[in-house]
C-alpha cells in the first residue's frame, strides 16, 4: 500500500489533465486530419493537408491574431503597470478599496460591456456625432471597424488579468529595499530600474500568460468592434465550426493555435522558472 501511495497521489491530477486537457486535444487532433462533410459524415484519412491548406488560406488572420495579441498585451502592460504600482506603493491603508474600484467594471459581462462601447463609439453615435457636427472631426472619421478599436477592446477586456498579477508582485516588494537602493546612491529612477522592476517581472510574466493566449484566441472584440479588415483567427474558427460545419479545418486551425500557445507558454515558463511565475500567479 505504502509503495502505491505516490502513484495514487498522481492519479487525481493525471485524471484531471487527461479529461480536461488531453482528451479534448487528442480528439481535436483526430478531427483535424479527417475528411468529409456534415451530411455524409466525417472519416479519418490522416489528411494533413487540412493543416497546410487552412494555414495557407488564413495565414493573414493567423498573423494578425498574433499581432493583435502582442500589441494588446504590450499596451495592457503599459496601462496596468502604473495602475498596479500606484495602488501597491501609494494606496496606503485603502489598497483593497482601490483594487475593488479598478476591478469593479470587469464584473460586468464581457460582451455587454463591449456592445455598449460599440454603440457609444458608433460613427453617428453619441460621442462622434456631436464632434462631427461641430466640425472637430471630419465627417468620414470612424473608430469602429479599425485595428485601434479591436486592440482597444482586447486591452479593455483583459486589463484586470494584467493588473492583478502585477499588483500582487509589486505589493510583495519590500519598500525598504527601495530605500536601501536610494541610500546606496541610486536615484529614484535607478532604484526603480534596478530593484522594483526586476522584482515585479514575475508578475508581468504571469500577466502575459493570463492575457496573451485569450487575446490571441479572442473573437468577440473583432466580431463586435472590428470590420472585415480585422477578422481574427478566432472568428474564422468559430465560423467554420458553427456556420460552415467544416469541422476538420476548424480543428486544424484550433489545434495549430492551441499548440503554438502551449509551446509558447511552456518555453516561457521554462525560461523564467516555473516556480517564480506560478508563485506570482497564485498569490
Amino acid at each position: 500500500m505504502k509503495r502505491l501511495t505516490p502513484y495514487l497521489l498522481i492519479l487525481p491530477g493525471g485524471l484531471w489533465l487527461a479529461i480536461f486537457l488531453v482528451v479534448p486535444m487528442v480528439f481535436m487532433a483526430s478531427v483535424s486530419t479527417q475528411e468529409g462533410n456534415v451530411v455524409d459524415g466525417f472519416a479519418q484519412t490522416f489528411n494533413f493537408a487540412n493543416y497546410t491548406n487552412t494555414l495557407a488560406l488564413f495565414q493573414t488572420q493567423f498573423l494578425r491574431s498574433v499581432g493583435y495579441g502582442l500589441a494588446g498585451t504590450l499596451i495592457a502592460i503599459a496601462l496596468a503597470y502604473p495602475i498596479a504600482y500606484w495602488i501597491a506603493f501609494r494606496g496606503g491603508a485603502r489598497k483593497s478599496t482601490y483594487l475593488l474600484l479598478v476591478l469593479l467594471p470587469f464584473f460586468v459581462s464581457f460582451v455587454l460591456r463591449t456592445v455598449s462601447w460599440k454603440f457609444l463609439l458608433a460613427d453617428e453615435g453619441i460621442v462622434l456625432a456631436p464632434l462631427k457636427s461641430l466640425g472637430v472631426l471630419p465627417e468620414d472619421f470612424h473608430v469602429l471597424q479599425t485595428t485601434v478599436a479591436v486592440v482597444g477592446g482586447l486591452v479593455y477586456n483583459y486589463l484586470p488579468f494584467m493588473i492583478l498579477p502585477i499588483y500582487v508582485a509589486l505589493e510583495r516588494v519590500d519598500p525598504r529595499s527601495v530605500e536601501a537602493a536610494q541610500d546606496l546612491y541610486a536615484t529614484r529612477s535607478a532604484a526603480f530600474r534596478k530593484i522594483v522592476l526586476p522584482l515585479s517581472l514575475p508578475g508581468v510574466f504571469a500577466g502575459v500568460l493570463m492575457t496573451f493566449v485569450p487575446m490571441t484566441a479572442d473573437y468577440v472584440n473583432a466580431g463586435i468592434l472590428g470590420g472585415p479588415q480585422n477578422t481574427m483567427i478566432g472568428n474564422i474558427i468559430q465560423t467554420k465550426y458553427l456556420i460552415n460545419n467544416d469541422y476538420p479545418s476548424a480543428a486544424a486551425l484550433s489545434f495549430t493555435l492551441m499548440a503554438a500557445m502551449l509551446v509558447g507558454i511552456f518555453a516561457y515558463a521554462k525560461a523564467l522558472g516555473t516556480e517564480n511565475v506560478l508563485e506570482a500567479a497564485a498569490r
Binding site: D174, R176, S177, E179, A180, A181, Q182, D183, L184, Y185, A186, T187, A190, K194, I195, P198, L199
Partner: protein, 354 residues
C-alpha cells in the same frame, strides 16, 4: 574639529487620521567623528525616525540636520555620504551577495577594478569570501546580517547608521555579532549611529548613549553615567533592573519599612530613591556601619547561573531585587522565608524626582 553629525532642534510631525502627531519633539545632538553612538529607547520613542532623518528618508518638519558641518536637511538620501544597515537587512533578493555589496559602488560609477578589489576586501572582513554567488534567501540570518553590513561599509561612508541590526538574530549570535560590530568599528574608524531598544546591547558597545522617550532625549551620556546616575525614573527603569523606594527625606535620611536609607546631598521632601540590585548586600544581622540598611523577608531566590536573584519583601510590601554573584559554591546566603537585612553604601542611593 567639526562633529560628524549634528541635529539642531529637529522636529518631525505626521498627520494621522487628521491629527498632527509629533514623532520627534525637538532633538539636538552632536555626534563626534569616529564615535559609537547609540539611540536607545522603547518602541515608538522616535529613535528610528531620528535616524531616518539623518539618512534622509524623512524630512524634518523643523530643525536642521548637518553632516560634517554641512547642512543636508533637504538633500536626498542618495546624495548623503552616510549608509544605513536596515532592521530586516533589506537585501536585494534578486541579486547575489557580490552584486548586493557592489551595488553602491556601481551606482557611484567606481571603476570595475576598484569595485572588484574593494568588494573582495569587504567580504573578507565580514568573513563571507567564497559565498559571493549565494542569494540572500539561501543564507542564515547571521550571514544576511553580515552582507547588509558589508553592503553599507564598502562605500567608506563618513557615518554608518544601524537600525536594530541584530534584532532578528538569536541570543548567542547576537552576542557574537556585538563583539564583531565593535571590532569592525574600531578597525574602520567610522562613526557608528546605532538604534536599539536593547539596553545591554547599548551598554556593551557604545561610547555614548542617548536615551529617548516619547520623542525627546531623556539623558545623553556614557554607559556608566547612564547606568549609575540615571537622570529620571524612566531611564532608571529602562536601563537594567532598578529598585525604587519612596518616602519623605529628612536630613539626608529616608525612613523606610523599619530601616533607613542614606541619601547624601538629597533635597528634603517627597522623593523616589533608586538603588541597583547589584549594589545591595544581603545579611542575616543588622549592619553596624554607617550604611543604608533595611530589614525584609526573602520572598524568592532564583538561581541564574552567573548570579542569584533575590526578591526581598519589606514590611510595607515593597519588593526589592538583589543580585549576588555566584562566585563560589556557598553563595546562597539566605533561603526563601528568611528574615534578612539589606544594606548598601550611601553613594549608591539616587534621589530622582517623583
Amino acid at each position: 574639529m567639526t562633529s560628524a553629525i549634528d541635529l539642531d532642534e529637529v522636529i518631525k510631525e505626521y498627520v494621522s487620521h487628521g491629527e498632527v502627531v509629533q514623532a520627534v519633539k525637538g532633538v539636538s545632538l552632536s555626534i563626534a567623528e569616529g564615535e559609537f553612538f547609540s539611540l536607545l529607547g522603547p518602541s515608538g520613542c522616535g529613535k528610528t525616525t531620528t535616524m531616518r532623518m539623518i539618512a534622509g528618508f524623512e524630512d524634518p518638519t523643523r530643525g536642521k540636520v548637518r553632516l560634517h558641518g554641512q547642512d543636508v536637511t533637504n538633500v536626498p538620501p542618495n546624495k548623503r555620504d552616510v549608509n544605513m544597515v536596515f532592521q530586516s537587512y533589506a537585501l536585494f533578493p534578486h541579486m547575489n551577495v557580490w552584486d548586493n555589496v557592489a551595488f553602491g559602488l556601481k551606482q557611484k560609477k567606481t571603476p570595475d577594478a576598484e569595485i572588484k578589489r574593494r568588494v573582495g576586501e569587504m567580504l573578507d572582513i565580514v568573513d563571507l569570501t567564497g559565498r559571493e554567488k549565494r542569494r540572500p534567501r539561501e543564507m542564515s540570518g547571521g550571514q544576511q546580517q553580515r552582507v547588509a553590513l558589508a553592503r553599507a561599509l564598502v562605500n567608506n561612508p563618513r557615518a554608518l547608521l544601524l537600525d536594530e541590526p541584530l534584532g532578528a538574530l538569536d541570543l548567542k549570535l547576537r552576542q557574537a555579532m556585538q563583539i564583531e560590530l565593535k571590532r569592525i568599528q574600531r578597525e574602520v574608524g567610522i562613526t557608528f549611529v546605532y538604534v536599539t531598544h536593547d539596553q545591554s546591547e547599548a551598554l556593551t558597545m557604545s561610547d555614548r548613549i542617548a536615551v529617548m522617550n516619547d520623542g525627546l532625549v531623556e539623558q545623553l551620556a556614557g554607559p556608566r553615567e547612564i547606568y549609575e546616575q540615571p537622570a529620571s525614573a524612566f531611564v532608571a527603569g529602562f536601563i537594567g533592573t532598578s529598585n525604587l523606594l519612596a518616602g519623605t527625606l529628612a536630613g539626608g535620611v529616608l525612613k523606610v519599612a523599619g530601616g533607613r536609607v542614606l541619601v547624601p546631598g538629597g533635597q528634603d521632601g517627597e522623593v523616589n530613591v533608586t538603588v541597583r540590585p547589584e549594589k545591595i548586600t544581603i545579611d542575616v544581622d543588622e549592619p553596624t556601619q554607617n550604611v543604608s540598611a533595611v530589614p525584609g523577608t526573602v520572598a524568592e531566590v532564583v538561581y541564574l547561573g552567573t548570579y542569584n536573584s533575590y526578591a526581598v519583601r519589606l514590611s510595607d510590601g515593597t519588593e526589592v531585587t538583589v543580585f549576588q554573584q555566584n562566585a563560589n559554591d556557598a553563595t546562597i546566603t539566605a533561603e526563601r522565608g528568611d528574615a534578612v537585612w539589606l544594606s548598601w553604601q550611601p553613594q549608591h542611593s539616587y534621589a530622582i524626582g517623583s
